[in-house]
């Protein structure tokens, strides 16, 4: 994690740069600092010491201690004395602001403490993010090849930073490949691209990467992070959400098809109501089903329902709107103009939703249902038949086992539980293990005839399940009907303390509005349909901005708004507001094509810059807010595994289907709920084990240990940006896990020279120095390990652990 105020430092550099005088940013920065650091206690509502830091007038008026600022004179301003610890009052309590922040406030007061016109306080509902973006003019910048570059160069020049040069071609193809596919390029792809000197080589590379199905697997994974996807529901039983993977496959396919983003969003919010005859669209409503739920916890159904609705509001508002509406569950939002009432108006939209099964193909699904009923019925019959045959044997064996125990235990066990004293009960419970009759015990003494009868039942049983296929259904939701349960504001978030009844409606900060009642003979309330239309509209100021910011973030490492699921006041201003709005306008104009946005971004000079920051950029803009260079990034958890499999040549590119359970060592399964062999039933077909990570099972109570170490999300809350930590357990996993050793050995089987190993793992030839070192290493390890192939496996294990392999420049 980088220091959060690097961004501010960079903006300060812009604000204070002497040459060509840019717009004075200091008011916007100052307000951002006040909001972030002081707003919690000195907001409109909180007003500690009667001080409200919400506008120029309130500051001039001040609080109990008198005026907070004297414009033009920081030293005489109580606010500045307090934050710089130069007076009697020191603020904020328990710490001091970052020096950069103090400097921002000093400059701002010195310049007259103007309250920014563009960045009015959020309480006025005039926050930039709540106003519809307009297409801003593209600045005329010499040397800018694309509008994106023009916006970026404008600020870089103002800050006096020269952007980094273009990266070399190897870095470029690796970057593009990891960004779009989550995989390294193959040695063949690298060779082709390096030898292609035509002017449009880069463009054709992007086109071909976007056309590959690997693209949906990578970008679908980003989306699954956002919608807190998992294959199981969580808690003690952690049951499977049956066919949750249909939604996962739907997401991957939607990205591969370049489904327009507005359509993609609408299908997920209300596919059942908008396209009731289209199973693919309705599968989108799996969005509601793939999160954590506690449906299996009984006697708390009312609470389970409350939590489910809260999850819907929380996830929907943060994913599609970039707003933390859930903060208004118990009280009005502390920082954004979202009253508690709005939370419950939004909740009312989801109140009529109930779980549903989407029949992917109607007749097939109907037949499947009938067959499943029949199978269930037959199963019970057979179960009864089996116990009938086994019973006499079981009783006999149990009596024999009891007879071997001490007399008092025998007495206790022979009594019915209700006849036993509590001591006898204790004895009986403790001895239960000793008199248990296993299936094997019974099998050993079966008569020939009974053994044959059982065998024939077992054969019938197995044949019933032979070729057992996944039901042609997907989890989804549907409205319970035209009438919805009533929704009340829960006072302080307590559902047992209902306040006013509210109807379904939209966020007041974004214009508000009620959802009308649906027509008399409608099958649904139409609430989610109305929400979908309202959300996924060019008139919604957040819908396009939030998504283009996400796309930007996944390409550049951080967004123009640094908090991708929070565009509220705590987010501050974007680093490049005009660029953000221009991208949003383009996204709408390009009919919500995500692929076209990739291309737009990747064709810019900015995307192709070297990952090496110049010393000047490091000094002036350490957080790289101004995008003077590319942010080097560590591979994500799935990318580590997939890249290793690709290097070793064992990656399977099979797509879709039920989640794969890969083999794990007992020590890796340590801590899983239940007995490992029952809780982790490995997919029998070994060819499945090397499929891409997006297809591996996502248990909510148990993460693949390598993924957990590399910051993969746990699928409980929406994850809009992964951590990128560096830890010793990561190194241990990459050095010592059986998976890595096996892959290194597989790789070594295919490799005969050092150069070959380098090409397969690092996509390039070794330098003479590296080649020499590697040959020495091979020689030494051959002597030590007894074979050249073992030495090459060691070399491979080493290369798979290098920073060059683990980072994308």
């Amino acid at each position: 994690m980088r220091a959060p105020f690097c961004a501010l430092a960079a903006l300060v550099a812009v604000a204070l740069a002497p040459l060509p005088a840019p717009a004075d940013n200091s008011p916007a920065l100052a307000v951002a600092v006040l909001e972030k650091r002081c707003g919690q206690c000195h907001g409109e509502q909180t007003a500690a010491s009667d001080l409200r830091l919400v506008g120029r007038e309130p500051l001039l008026k001040g609080g109990k201690r008198g005026p907070a600022i004297k414009p033009g004179s920081p030293a005489d301003s109580l606010l500045f004395q307090a934050v710089s610890h130069t007076g009697t009052l020191s603020m904020p309590p328990g710490g001091q602001l970052d020096p950069v922040e103090i400097e921002i406030l000093r400059v701002w007061i010195e310049k007259g403490a103007e309250w920014p016109a563009g960045v009015a306080h959020a309480r006025t509902n005039n926050w930039w993010a709540f106003r519809k973006p307009t297409r801003p003019p593209v600045p005329q910048m010499a040397g800018a090849v694309t509008p994106i570059d023009a916006y970026l160069l404008e600020k870089l020049q103002a800050a006096g930073i020269t952007p980094a040069p273009e990266a070399d071609k190897l870095a470029l193809i690796r970057r593009a490949s990891f960004d779009l596919h989550g995989l390294p390029p193959s040695p063949e792809q690298v060779r082709q691209f390096l030898n292609d000197n035509s002017a449009d080589a880069w463009e054709r590379l992007i086109d071909s990467l976007l056309a590959s199905p690997r693209y949906g697997e990578k970008w679908g994974r980003h989306w699954l992070d956002l919608v807190r996807y998992g294959d199981t529901a969580g808690f003690e039983q952690d049951p499977y959400t049956l066919e949750a993977w249909r939604y996962r496959d739907y997401v991957i396919k939607s990205f591969n098809d370049d489904k327009p983003y507005d359509r993609f969003a609408k299908e997920q919010i209300a596919g059942d109501d908008l396209w009731p005859d289209n199973p693919d669209s309705r599968t989108g409503t799996g969005y509601y089903r793939v999160g954590t739920n506690r449906d299996m916890l009984f006697k708390v159904e009312d609470m389970n329902q409350v939590e489910k609705l809260t999850d819907y509001v929380d996830t929907t508002s943060s994913v599609f709107l970039g707003l933390t509406v859930a903060c208004a569950r118990c009280h009005d939002h502390k920082f954004d103009p979202i009253p508690q009432r709005d939370f419950y108006r939004m909740q009312a939209i989801f109140a009529p939703a109930v779980n549903d099964r989407v029949f992917l193909e109607y007749n097939e699904a109907r037949f499947y249902d009938i067959a499943a009923n029949y199978r269930e019925f037959k199963l019970r019959q057979m179960g009864e038949e089996i116990s009938r045959i086994q019973r006499p044997y079981r009783e006999k064996l149990r009596d024999e086992k009891i007879a071997k125990l001490p007399p008092d235990v025998q007495t206790a066990l022979k009594l019915k539980p209700e006849q036993r004293s509590s001591e006898q009960q204790a004895v009986a419970v403790q001895s239960e293990e000793k008199v248990k009759v296993t299936d094997d015990d019974v099998r050993a003494i079966l008569s020939q005839a009974d053994a044959e009868r059982l065998h024939s039942i077992e054969k019938r049983l197995v044949s019933m399940f032979a070729g057992y296929s996944a039901p042609p259904m997907a989890p989804g939701i549907i409205d319970v009907g035209r009438e919805a349960p009533r929704t009340y504001i829960a006072i302080r978030g307590n559902p047992n303390a209902p306040g006013d009844e509210v109807g379904p409606g939209f966020l007041s900060a974004l214009g508000g509005g009620d959802v009308p009642d649906s027509p008399l003979h409608a099958k649904s309330t139409g609430r989610r349909k109305a929400l979908a239309d309202w959300l996924a509209s060019p008139d919604n100021p957040l819908f396009a901005r939030v998504m283009v910011n996400r796309i930007w973030q996944y390409h550049f490492g951080s967004g123009l708004v640094r908090t991708p699921s929070d565009f509220g006041t705590r987010a501050g201003a974007p680093s490049h507001p005009e660029l953000l709005d221009w991208l949003a306008a383009e996204f709408t104009a390009r009919k919500w094509s995500i692929k076209s946005m990739h291309k737009l971004i990747m064709m810019s000079d900015a995307y192709r810059r070297s990952a090496n920051a110049t010393p000047e950029a490091r000094r002036l803009d350490p957080g790289n807010t101004l995008v003077a260079h590319t942010n080097r990034r560590r591979l994500e958890a799935e990318e580590v595994r997939d890249a290793v499999l690709q290097a070793s040549g064992s990656l399977s590119l099979k797509m879709g289907g039920a989640p794969v359970v890969p083999p794990l060592e007992p020590e890796e399964l340590y801590g899983i709920i239940g007995k490992p062999d029952a809780a982790w039933v490995v997919t029998p077909n070994a060819e499945e084990h090397t499929r891409r990570s997006v297809y591996l099972i996502q248990r909510r109570t148990f993460q693949h240990p390598m993924f957990a170490a590399f910051d993969a999300p746990d699928g409980v809350l929406s994850c809009s940006r992964r951590n990128e930590s560096t830890t010793a357990p990561q190194s241990l996993a990459l050095l010592n896990s059986r998976f890595m050793l096996e892959q290194a050995r597989l790789l070594a089987e295919k490799v005969t020279t050092v150069d070959d190993a380098w090409r397969r793992i690092l996509d390039r030839d070794p330098t003479p120095e590296e080649r020499h070192g590697a040959e020495e290493f091979i020689e030494k390890q051959t002597a030590r390990l007894g074979s050249k192939s073992a030495a090459f496996a060691e070399l491979a294990r080493g290369l798979l652990n290098t920073n060059e392999f683990l980072y994308v420049d």
């Binding site: 204790a426 090496n612 340590y670 910051d711 357990p729 241990l732 590697a774 390890q781």
Partner: protein
Amino acid sequence: MTRREMLLKAGQGFGAVVLASLLEAAESNPLAPKPPQVPAKAKSVIYLFMHGGVSHVDTFDPKPELARHNGQPLSVELAKTIKTSFIHDPTKAILRGSPWTFRPGGKCGTPVSDLFPRVRERMDDIAVIRSCFGDVFDHAPAIYLRNSGSQFPGRPCLGSWVVYGLGTENQNLPSFVVMSDGSTKSGPPAYSAGFLPAVYQGTVFRGGDDPILYLRNPEGISGETQRDTLNFIGKLDRMHDAARPGDSTLEARIASYELAFRMQSAAPEAVDFAKETPATRKLYGLDENRTADFGRKCLLARRLVERGVRFVQIYSGTNVGDDWDAAHEDLVGSHEKMAGKIDQPIAALLEDLKARGLLDSTLVVWSGEFGRTPLSQGKNGRDHHPYGFTMWMAGAGIKGGQALGSTDEFGVQAVDMRVDAHDVNATLLRLVGLDHEKLTYFYQGRDQRLTDVHGQNEFTRKLLA
């Protein structure tokens, strides 16, 4: 050892040239020790988690009235205040007195039942809190709630918050260690870092000589080969790094490999009891089958705390073997068995920490996710009961020999000094020098806290008084 010294030591695997950049990388080490936010009473925590639910009225909360009303129902009014998993109608169930005798312990005389005769001898060091309560009666959500302040998984647990706030003293061992019998009813989310970076995750110590996952060199790879390979990686990384100046992340990863290598020797050393005296082994009950496993965990906890590990959590009970939760059907059998495994080791831990002068700087916590019903479940059991139950604490300058809070005469509802999971967690944080209102992490639009907006009934002062 200071951070700089630590790094100087860690840097011995390298040339002096890279040392400067290593030091720079260490500045961003998220586990570097940090000063406490408020005066700290303890440096480390050993949290003994009683998985499955221990009956409070049979251990630390004596209820003579319960025995007196044995076989009678609760008043309808009181019975209606509780909801449990298996007793479908509490108004129709009957009260059951404790089958165990309570006797005064230590000089203070705090009563403890015969389930914990050895812990009873240590009561002068222990403050019992008899007024814990919660509203969740299922295991997994209740375990999450006690550990992370939320019934839902996905939030950072106490141990993660503590190492996030304080860092750790020994970089060669994990900062936050968890020991269990393998499987729990909550799974790993109970010791997860939630939305905090993975570096604050609890590290599970298993049995055996290589307690940490992936600690052992791969099969067939000797120590020499491992060292050669590490040197080889280091050499390539330094060339790579030289072409990419000023990137502290790359340098941090180079350091993480050295750290991993050091952990490979530090962790086995920590779990090697060869240097412990026979008397110590005996004290912890390592010589007896019944106590050997939990005794090993307690002794290991002491050794980890000695080595600067910040937070150790030990689970008693598992959902695939012996568990406190077997009390559903067999109160006597389950509790005799479970208490028998842990009584001596826990008493030994307290005694040993005290003898070594570590008890003052170590906070020892004993708690489960809930208690058990004073009502009988079936003929021989007790059901889950979160409405009033007991935990205890020792060390950290806590005044021992006291019992805080109370439940009603039957042990149904917490009455005096009612404290929920947040109040307890706020208190535990304060004792290690963290203010639960200031220990925050910005996530999803707000400054998240372990105690969310709760924790107002923090009771640190009463403990220390």
